[in-house]
Symmetry: C2
Subunit: 252 residues, 2 copies
């Protein structure tokens, strides 16, 4: 039984292009080439192709498959085990991803529902207004409308529970920061705890977190008078202290 590309392709359920490609990369060479230059495959090639497709379905790269098939002493069990581990990692990643997407959808839908019900609109509006009053116009000019709007949007999507959590976190942060400041050591345990709390607090506002951005924000707390005053309210120098603590924190 001999097959041309199309015949073999139909038999195995792959395209002729695939067969030509496998020929090209030396994965599956035809038994012979006839006088017209046609690729002719025999039974051996059918079997080999079956093996190839089997491994391919397992998700192995064609190069790995070639290694396995070309070297009869190749440790196919080990290859499969390696591959298995890769798949498990992939699965873990995927599960994380799915959880994140679900969280995002939920957040989105809560946002919509809440907007519809205008449920906590009162306190949120108040919060936004306060925000505006505090840092309002100048910040808006300095950092762009988008940033402020996005931040406000995120506030709107927040549930009462999340708001409680946020407030609690902020309180804990200020308390810890105050205590830490008294120690005078930005690298100390207390200061590092404050930095961590600040990160947590920040993550309520930021959709994604990076050490660099965190550090950048900390510097801004010092550079921008309004933020500085906010932090230095009780103990002058706290803004700098927080910046230094965050600098240490983000260096690990």
């Amino acid at each position: 039984m001999e097959y041309t590309v199309q015949k073999l392709g139909q038999l195995a359920g792959v395209s002729t292009r695939t067969l030509r490609y496998y020929d090209e990369i030396g994965l599956l060479k035809p038994a012979r080439i006839n006088s017209s230059g046609y690729r002719i495959y025999g039974q051996q090639e059918v079997n080999r192709l079956q093996q190839i497709l089997f491994y391919r379905e397992l998700g192995l790269h064609l190069e790995k498959i070639r290694d396995i098939m070309n070297d009869p002493d190749f440790d196919s069990t080990k290859a499969l085990k390696d591959h298995h581990e890769n798949l498990l990692n992939k699965k873990e990643q995927l599960d994380l991803l799915i959880a994140n997407v679900e969280k995002s959808i939920a957040a989105n839908e809560r946002g919509i529902t809440m907007t519809d019900q205008e449920k906590f609109e009162g306190f949120k509006e108040k919060l936004i207004e306060e925000n505006e009053k505090l840092y309002g116009k100048e910040i808006r000019e300095k950092y762009g409308q988008d940033a402020v709007n996005r931040s406000n949007d995120k506030l709107k999507r927040m549930t009462a529970h999340e708001h409680e959590e946020l407030t609690r976190l902020a309180d804990e942060l200020y308390e810890t920061l105050g205590e830490a400041f008294k120690t005078g050591d930005p690298a100390g345990d207390l200061a590092q705890k404050a930095a961590e709390l600040h990160k947590k607090w920040l993550c309520f506002y930021w959709d994604s977190y990076s050490k660099e951005a965190h550090r950048g924000l900390a510097q801004m707390y010092v550079d921008d008078e309004r933020f500085k005053q906010h932090y230095d309210k009780n103990q002058p120098g706290t803004a700098e202290f927080l910046r230094d603590a965050i600098h240490v924190y983000t260096s690990n």
Copy 2:
């Protein structure tokens, strides 16, 4: 605060190439280009990049991200839900894949264990020897060493349980085939059951199954005198009958 490519890249943890690419595809354009042609990004762009990276981490394609970001009315919840479904499908596929790889590893290891312990070596060697005696050299010449070797390899990996199952299946096949032959109808229920049993039996030897290959083998049973004699042993014409039954069976 203005950023050049590298500054922004460091801030966000992406390469300069990525930023240039995002510019190229219109996903993130710099705020302005300075007199030397440098890309200059502002705060708005930092925020936009954060959003982009957020969606990217969720595994969305850059084009989708662009759609979401460029059109403020874009239904991002729907986009996320579509994406979510895709991920679930992917997960299902992956789980299937993992199960298959595990099965393969198990099969392989059983084979190795058995080879190490030389446990059922006796009956397997005998089986292979019989195979060789029966169809040996000529088949090997006709269909290539590989096919025969692979078949033998597969026999070696078989467990005692599997061998039992195989024998039982073969007995059932011959019995059913005998009964079916008496009806004289290759399209009848009995003949079709025989064809199905033959497929099952075949799948012990073949790593993958295709209707065409099955049909091809059935034809070979008729063409090759050795196979023909084997099937016609009790009732002459059985090989043809089986071929016809399989032909009908594989037409559905």
